[in-house]
C-alpha cells in the first residue's frame, strides 16, 4: 500500500534507488550571474533579519525573565521617550536605503535583455509548455513524463519514490547552450502560467495576449528542473520544466538532429500510413496532449472533461470528430490545428476512434488533414 510509506520520510530517503534530489533548506545559488546576485541579496536581507531578530527576541526574553511580578518588581510608569522613538524610526530607514541600492542594481540587470544571442519563445498551455527556437525554426511541446503521469493518478498505488524525478520530468526537455545570452519571450495560450526554473534565478508569468521576457546565461552544463508557479487549473501541479544545458557544440549537434527528425516527419505527411503506425503514433500523441483532461483511458472526468471512450463524437462521423480536434470547443477544449502536425492529428484522431473499445474501424491520413 502506498499510504504512509514515506513516513518517517528521512529513513526512506536512504533506500531510494531512483534519481531524486535531497531536501534542502536554502535558496539555490543557481547557475547564472542573475541567480547568484539574487542569492546574495537573499542572504544579505536574511542576515539583517537575523540581527534584528536577535535584538527583538533578546529584549522580549530578557523582559519576560526579569520583569515579572512574581519576582516582586515594582512596575515603572514611563510611557514615552522621544529620543528613543526617533532612533527606532531612523535606523530602520537607513538600513532600508542600504538594501534598496543593491536591489535596484540587480533589478535593472534582470530587466536588461539587450544583446541576446538567441531567443526562445515559451508559451504556457493547460497543462504543458511549448518551446519555439525562433532562430532555428524548432517548435515542440513539453509535457509531464509518462511515468510520473501514471504514478500521480488518484489511487495509482505507484510509489512516487520509485519514479525517476517524480513530477519534475518531461517527455521533451528544453535544450539550451551554455555561455550564451538567451532571451526568453513568454506568452500564454489559455490562462496565465508562470515559468520558473530556480537555477536561472527568476520566474516570469506567461500572459495570454501579452509578451513578457527575461534572460539567462547558463554557466554550467547540467539538468535544471522547475515548475509552473501560477495556478492554472486542475493540473497546475503537473506541468514541470526541464532545461538541459549543453556546450555549444553539443547543442548544435542536438539542433541538427531535431531538424533531421522534423524533415523525416515532414516526409510522412505525403505517405500513406498503416493502421498500426497511426495507432502507435496516436497513442504517443494522445498521452502527451489529451490525457491530462480526457484521461489515459479516455474516460474523462464527469462534470469537467467529457469522455472520449464511447462518446458520440469519437464514434460518430469522422468530419465532426476532426472538427472538434482541429478547431476546439468552448469553453475549454483548445484548437489543435496549429499546435499538432498533420501526422500527429491524423494519428490521434484515428487512435481515439479505435482505442478503448471505440471500434469504429476507420482511419484518416495526414494528406487528408493537410488538405483542410
Amino acid at each position: 500500500m502506498s499510504k504512509f510509506k514515506l513516513w518517517p520520510a528521512g529513513l526512506g530517503l536512504a533506500f531510494w534507488g531512483e534519481a531524486q534530489a535531497d531536501y534542502t533548506l536554502n535558496l539555490t545559488e543557481g547557475v547564472t550571474e542573475l541567480s547568484r546576485d539574487v542569492h546574495d541579496l537573499h542572504m544579505i536581507i536574511f542576515w539583517i533579519c537575523v540581527a534584528i531578530g536577535v535584538l527583538v527576541y533578546g529584549l522580549i526574553i530578557y523582559s519576560i525573565a526579569n520583569h515579572r511580578k512574581s519576582r516582586g518588581v515594582i512596575p515603572a510608569d514611563f510611557h514615552e521617550n522621544t529620543k528613543l522613538e526617533v532612533l527606532w524610526t531612523v535606523i530602520p530607514f537607513i538600513i532600508l536605503i542600504g538594501m534598496a541600492i543593491p536591489a535596484t542594481r540587480v533589478m535593472l540587470k534582470i530587466y536588461d535583455t539587450s544583446g541576446a544571442e538567441m531567443t526562445v519563445k515559451v508559451t504556457g498551455y493547460q497543462w504543458k509548455w511549448r518551446y519555439e527556437y525562433l532562430d532555428e525554426g524548432l517548435d515542440f511541446f513539453s509535457t509531464l513524463d509518462a511515468d510520473s503521469n501514471r504514478a500521480r493518478q488518484l489511487g495509482s498505488n505507484i510509489n512516487p519514490a520509485s519514479v525517476d524525478n517524480y513530477l519534475l520530468n518531461v517527455d521533451k526537455p528544453l535544450v539550451l547552450p551554455t555561455h550564451k545570452k538567451i532571451r526568453f519571450v513568454f506568452t500564454g495560450a489559455d490562462v496565465i502560467h508562470s515559468w520558473w526554473v530556480p537555477a536561472l534565478g527568476w520566474k516570469k508569468d506567461t500572459i495570454p495576449g501579452f509578451i513578457t521576457d527575461g534572460w539567462a546565461k547558463i554557466e554550467k552544463e547540467g539538468t535544471y528542473r522547475g515548475q509552473c508557479t501560477e495556478l492554472c487549473g486542475r493540473d497546475h501541479g503537473f506541468m514541470p520544466i526541464v532545461v538541459i544545458a549543453k556546450t555549444d557544440a553539443e547543442y548544435r549537434a542536438w539542433v541538427a538532429e531535431q531538424k533531421a527528425a522534423k524533415d523525416s516527419a515532414k516526409a510522412d505527411e505525403g505517405r500513406q500510413l498503416s493502421m498500426n503506425e497511426l495507432m502507435t503514433k496516436g497513442k504517443e500523441t494522445y498521452d502527451s496532449n489529451c490525457a491530462a483532461c480526457h484521461q489515459a483511458g479516455g474516460e474523462g472526468i464527469p462534470g469537467m472533461f467529457p469522455a472520449i471512450k464511447h462518446s458520440p463524437v469519437a464514434t460518430g462521423p469522422m468530419a465532426q470528430h476532426l472538427d472538434v480536434v482541429l478547431n476546439g470547443k468552448a469553453p475549454m477544449m483548445p484548437a489543435f490545428k496549429e499546435t499538432l502536425s498533420p501526422v500527429e492529428l491524423a494519428a490521434v484522431v484515428t487512435y481515439q476512434r479505435n482505442a478503448w473499445g471505440n471500434n469504429v474501424g476507420d482511419m484518416i491520413q495526414p494528406s487528408a488533414i493537410k488538405a483542410k
Binding site: 531524486q20 515579572r68 511580578k69 520558473w196 495576449g209 522547475g226 493540473d235
Partner: protein, 529 residues
C-alpha cells in the same frame, strides 16, 4: 448571560432582551450582534479549518491519495475565502460591536438597525458560497484571488461566488460606516480622539480602509461577471482588454484587505500588553500615527504582489521602495510593545501569553515580508511555499492569535465568569507549538522550490510536508479545546469581578462596568478626565 444583567439597570428592565430565537433575529443591541458575529466566525473558522485539513491530508506525502486535483483547488480557494471573509473579519467586527461602545462610553452603536442588517447578510452569503460545492463543475477553484482568464472557466458556481462577494462587501461596508459614525459621534464627554483606546483607533482606520477598497473589489468581480456573460472584454486581450488589469484592481483591494485583517489585531494586543505589564502603553501617539501610516501606505504598494507579471522596471522599483517603507511604522509598533513590557511587572495569564506570542511570531512574518519586498529576491520567492509560510505567520499567529488573546481577555467581561485558566494555558501551548510545526518548515519548502497551490509534489519535499501536516492536525484539533473553554465559561465558573484583571480599571472604561455589563450600558455617559 443577560438575564441577571437587567437587574443592574432598573430604569430599563422593560427594554431587556426578547426571549427565544427571535431575540437574535430582531436584535439591534450591540452586545447581541457582537455575540452573533463571533459565534458565526467561530463556526466559519472550524469549516475553513476542516478544508485546510483536507489540503494537509493530501499533502502529507507525495502521490495523490485522497482527492482529485480539481477538488484540491476548490479547497484552497474556499479555505482562503472562508477564513478571510468568514472567520477573521466577522470576529473582529464582533469584537468591535461588543467593545467599541463600551470602551468609548456610548450606550450602543450609532446605527443599530443597520448593524442588524450587516450581520444578517453574512449567514446568507456563506450558505450561498457553501452551496457552490454541490453545483455542476464544483466550487470556484481559481484561488481566492479569482484571476482571469482562469476564473472564467468556473462552472455554474461562478455567478454565485461573485454575488457572495457582493453580499459580504455590502455587509463589511455597512459595519465600517457604523463604526466610524459611532466613534466620531458617540464618545463620552472628555473622551477626545487622542484618548481613544488603541483597539478603537485601529478599528477606525480599518473601517476607512474597508470603505475605500470593498467597492473596488466589488467592481472588479462585476467586470469578471460581464466578461463571462455579457461579452465585455475588460480582461480579455483578444477584445482589447488586459488580464493583468484585474490583478491591479484586485490587489488595490487585496493589500489594504490584508491590513484590514491585521490592524485590529494591533489594537487588541495594545490593550492587553499594558494591562499585564501593569504599565501604560508606551508611545500612545506614535502607535496611532504608525497605524495611520500603515493604513495610508497600504494603498500605494499593491503591485508588490505582481513582481512577476512583467511590469516596466520603473514600476518594479517604485513598488519595491514603497513596500520597504512599511517596515518602518511596523517596526515602531513592535518596539513600542517591547518598551511597554520593559520594566513592567509582568504576569502571564492566557491573554498575555497569546499577546507575547503574537508580537514574536508576527515579527517573524514581518521579517519574511521584508525579504519579499526586495523585488529581485521575490522573483524567486513569489508563488512558492515561502509566501504561504509568510502570510500564514501574519494571519494565524498574527490575526488569529490576537483574536484568541482578545477572547480570553474579554471573555470574563462578556460572560461574567472566569474561563478555566489551566485549560487556557494548555490551549495556548498546543496552539503555539503546532502553529510553528505547521508553518515553519514551509519556509524551507518554498526556498527549495516548491510552488504553492499544488496537490502533489516531488519527493525531495516530502519531509517538511509531513511535518507541516502533522502540525496542522494538532493545531486543528486543539481548537476544539478553545470552543470547549468558551462554552464552559458561558455556562458557569468563578464569578468575574468588574475589574477582572488586577489594576485593569486604569486600562479602559470596559473594566468599570459590571461583568457581564447590563444589556444597555452607559445609559448615562461617564466622564473621562
Amino acid at each position: 448571560m443577560s438575564a441577571d444583567a437587567a437587574t443592574h439597570d432598573d430604569h430599563h428592565d422593560d427594554h431587556g432582551p426578547a426571549k427565544g430565537f427571535m431575540r437574535w433575529v430582531y436584535t439591534t443591541n450591540h452586545k447581541d450582534i457582537g455575540t452573533l458575529y463571533m459565534i458565526t466566525s467561530l463556526i466559519m473558522f472550524m469549516i475553513g479549518g476542516a478544508m485546510a485539513l483536507v489540503i494537509r491530508l493530501e499533502l502529507f506525502e507525495p502521490g495523490m491519495q485522497f482527492v482529485d486535483p480539481g477538488f484540491f483547488n476548490q479547497m484552497t480557494t474556499l479555505h482562503a475565502l472562508i477564513m478571510v471573509f468568514g472567520a477573521v473579519m466577522p470576529a473582529f467586527a464582533g469584537m468591535a460591536n461588543w467593545m467599541i461602545p463600551i470602551m468609548i462610553g456610548a450606550p450602543d452603536m450609532a446605527l443599530p438597525r443597520l448593524n442588524n442588517w450587516s450581520f444578517w447578510l453574512l449567514p446568507f452569503g456563506f450558505v450561498m458560497l457553501a452551496s457552490t460545492l454541490f453545483m455542476d463543475g464544483g466550487a470556484p477553484a481559481a484561488g481566492w484571488t479569482l484571476y482571469p482568464p482562469l476564473v472564467l472557466q468556473t462552472g455554474n458556481s461562478f455567478p454565485f461566488t461573485i454575488f457572495t462577494i457582493h453580499i459580504l462587501g455590502i455587509s463589511s461596508i455597512m459595519a465600517a460606516i457604523n463604526i466610524i459614525t459611532t466613534v466620531l459621534n458617540m464618545r463620552a464627554p472628555g473622551m477626545t480622539m487622542m484618548k481613544l483606546p488603541l483597539f478603537v483607533w485601529t478599528w477606525v482606520i480599518t473601517a476607512f480602509l474597508l470603505i475605500a477598497v470593498m467597492p473596488v473589489f466589488a467592481g472588479a468581480v462585476t467586470m469578471l461577471l460581464t466578461d463571462k456573460y455579457f461579452g465585455t472584454s475588460f480582461f480579455n486581450a483578444a477584445g482589447g482588454g488586459d488580464p493583468v488589469l484585474y490583478q491591479h484592481l484586485f490587489w488595490f483591494f487585496g493589500h489594504p484587505e490584508v491590513y484590514i485583517l491585521i490592524l485590529p489585531s494591533f489594537g487588541v494586543v495594545s490593550q492587553i500588553i499594558p494591562t499585564f505589564s501593569r504599565k501604560p502603553l508606551f508611545g500612545y501617539s506614535s502607535m496611532v500615527y504608525a497605524t495611520a501610516s500603515i493604513g495610508l501606505l497600504s494603498f500605494i504598494v499593491w503591485a508588490h504582489h505582481q513582481y512577476t507579471v512583467g511590469m516596466p522596471v520603473a514600476g518594479e522599483l517604485y513598488f519595491t521602495y514603497a513596500t520597504m517603507l512599511i517596515a518602518v511604522p511596523t517596526g515602531v509598533k513592535v518596539f513600542n510593545w517591547i518598551a511597554t513590557m520593559w520594566r513592567g511587572a509582568l504576569t502571564f495569564e492566557t491573554p498575555m501569553l497569546f499577546a507575547i506570542a503574537f508580537v514574536m511570531l508576527f515579527t517573524m512574518g514581518g521579517f519574511t515580508g521584508l525579504m519579499m519586498s526586495i523585488s529581485p529576491a521575490d522573483l524567486q520567492y513569489h508563488d512558492t511555499y515561502f509566501i504561504v509560510a509568510h502570510f500564514h505567520y501574519v494571519l494565524v499567529p498574527g490575526s488569529v492569535f490576537a483574536l484568541m488573546a482578545g477572547t480570553y481577555y474579554w471573555l470574563p467581561k462578556w460572560t461574567g465568569h472566569m474561563y478555566d485558566e489551566r485549560l487556557g494555558k494548555l490551549h495556548f501551548w498546543l496552539t503555539t507549538i503546532s502553529v510553528n510545526v505547521t508553518f515553519f518548515p514551509q519556509h524551507f519548502l518554498g526556498l527549495a522550490g516548491m510552488p504553492r497551490r499544488i496537490p502533489d509534489y516531488a519527493v525531495q519535499f516530502a519531509e517538511f510536508n509531513a511535518w507541516s501536516s502533522v502540525g496542522a492536525f494538532v493545531f486543528g484539533f486543539s481548537q476544539l479545546l478553545f470552543v470547549y473553554i468558551i462554552i464552559k465559561a458561558i455556562r458557569g465558573g468563578q464569578k468575574a469581578t468588574d475589574e477582572v484583571w488586577e489594576g485593569a480599571s486604569e486600562h479602559g472604561l470596559e473594566w468599570q462596568l459590571p461583568s457581564p455589563p447590563p444589556y444597555h450600558s452607559w445609559i448615562t455617559a461617564p466622564f473621562v478626565k
